[in-house]
Symmetry: C2
Subunit: 364 residues, 2 copies
């Protein structure tokens, strides 16, 4: 559950934001379809309030494309397979392009075989897992997405050396009258970006966010930044992140450990990221309408639980994000001025004009 | 990672323990194969050091069989399916019997289709998830097992009413020269049994184990026992346990929420537990030998990480249990005398003799 406080903001209409990002990606060498997909993916994350995975990452993606770390013209393809079980080679495409190709295959194959297993290699950071598994839910399927994260920031339990990512995964299932229930979680307590933010502002961090270089919990953001992130749930989160790496990356020979390129710091390095999608067509197991009716009832049952005194509402996974998405889709997406300014400057260097609505910000 | 300290102990040879439990289950009405499977499952858990899921549960299982909560003669069957995706109805068999039937189907189907999805309804508590997913690993597959837990002990995040189990799941993958890497975790910080144990001994509990009736963290074991367990990783564990309930139980219409029978407290009530198995035949994605070679290297890489000063060895998921299993398979399994005494008394009531090795305990 993301929480952000912005200073000055610029509000962009959803479609304007997608169009702008698509033009940036096209200018960097992607075809129209891939550019629109990449832009849409990032803007959806922003609209859901998951700004850490939104257009603030566009400059990093475009730098990787420009410097050779990502191939904007790559076409993913199925390179091995057996019925509903296939291996996709992304050929170093944008992670979103490889993941969309894999998602389309996963839906097709699950329709034919009742379920599907799509393993992806030769990919890059796929953005939010939610975006892919919610396509399963929209097709009356239950979707699982596992992925290795391109940065080693977590130590094995008892260790002090960063040898694992906080590998995220997503699971989604549709309801009848409510938004899909979607869990999209990383396996650390807090994102490393939050620790970096605290370091920049000189704030202390909660003692369960990070370990220092010697493996001891620390409230000093700088010590935590130079140490490792704490796994969510202690050794359970460590176990889960390693299993995620196994099923997403080791399964198909994608990069693991020292072979993983840092997403942010080395734009020329090919990442060779791996993912795993597992989709289940609900109708193969039970009537999808009946399932979705049960989902509505289960969500209501949890939301109607008596609450702690200070709690106003109980949420199910993905509900806060879905509500934010609906509201920002209608009213426009609020962006921090700094993020917009950086993208305007990037656009200037690529000959891409910003939407006129960026002029409304306090900074102009 | 289980930790137990026993008072007086009785050591049983692995085979003697299995044979004894099998005879108890046969006396309760199961056929020879099902009885041996049930006994083997429980003794393997003990040998791995996971005593909470071992033969200390035999009296509860047998009471459920005797009182009508479990049908010892039920034959699970495939009732719906499409290629590698099937629904199994356990017809209220022992959870282990339904899960073994499902596991056999999952392996067969994954061999044929590269991967398989087996949803199970009409089942009971399936014991440890590890037992099922390790059969996948032994067949050169990666296995996932999701299951709802038959007791509501966790509140939705922000709530105070127990409306969810600490639903466990397991994932396993094989290595070349090492034991399979196996994560088997419940979604609470601590098992409720540990809170019950602390209440009995009058000990305080760590403040991250339980909430009291008002939803506040408590170190008072009795207040925690009458409250709810804390999810592992806070709201992430809550999200994970609900997703687990969705994919294992809601998917196929098994019991959820108020419909779930308590495993321990109502022996006449049919549980209607649901499970989900997802197996992937490694050879469908990449050569299994190469995968297992990568697994060996990945495990070594994590174990070789520099450690915190006080840590002697880094473990991967399931490694402590695998080591314990090897040692207790060779030297016999150490049981608390109370557990053995209860089973001897149960055997007396069923006309089942205890192994002669139970005579070696300090209690005779």
């Amino acid at each position: 559950m993301a929480d952000y406080t912005f200073g000055s903001v610029v509000t962009l209409a959803f479609d304007d934001a997608v169009d702008w990002q698509a033009r940036l990606f096209r200018a960097a060498g992607m075809n129209d379809e891939d550019a629109r997909l990449s832009g849409h993916h990032l803007v959806v994350a922003d609209a859901r309030g998951v700004y850490s995975h939104g257009i603030m990452r566009t400059p990093t993606y475009i730098e990787k494309i420009t410097e050779g770390g990502i191939d904007p013209a790559a076409r993913p393809e199925v390179v091995r397979g057996k019925g509903p079980t296939v291996l996709v080679d992304g050929h170093n495409a944008m992670g979103q392009v490889a993941a969309q190709f894999a998602t389309d295959r996963a839906i097709e194959l699950a329709k034919e075989f009742g379920s599907s297993t799509v393993s992806v290699t030769g990919s890059n950071h796929l953005g939010t897992a939610a975006y892919w598994v919610e396509q399963a839910a929209a097709a009356d399927m239950v979707g699982f997405c596992w992925t290795i994260n391109g940065n080693n920031i977590m130590a094995p339990w008892g260790g002090i050396d960063a040898r694992l990512g906080n590998n995220p995964f997503g699971i989604s299932a549709p309801c009848l009258t409510r938004p899909a229930v979607t869990l999209d979680m990383a396996t650390s307590v807090a994102a490393r970006g939050k620790i970096a933010m605290a370091m920049r502002t000189g704030s202390p961090i909660p003692e369960d966010w990070a370990y220092d270089k010697d493996g001891h919990p620390t409230t000093d953001a700088e010590a935590g930044f130079h140490g490792t992130v704490q796994p969510s749930g202690g050794y359970k989160g460590y176990g889960l992140t390693f299993m995620n790496a196994i099923v997403s990356a080791l399964l198909n020979g994608s990069a693991f450990g020292d072979d993983i390129g840092d997403f942010f710091e080395n734009p020329t390095q090919v990442q060779n990221t791996g993912h795993l999608l597992q989709f289940i067509d609900i109708d193969a197991i039970d009537d999808a309408e009946q399932f979705k009716t049960r989902m509505d009832a289960a969500v209501a049952y949890l939301k109607e639980s008596p609450r702690r005194d200070e709690v106003e509402e109980i949420f199910v996974p993905g509900e806060i994000e879905a509500r934010k998405y609906e509201s920002q889709l209608a009213a426009g997406i609020e962006y921090p001025t700094e993020v917009i300014d950086e993208l305007i400057a990037l656009g200037d260097s690529l000959g891409v004009a910003a939407p006129t609505s960026t002029n409304q910000g306090a900074h102009r």
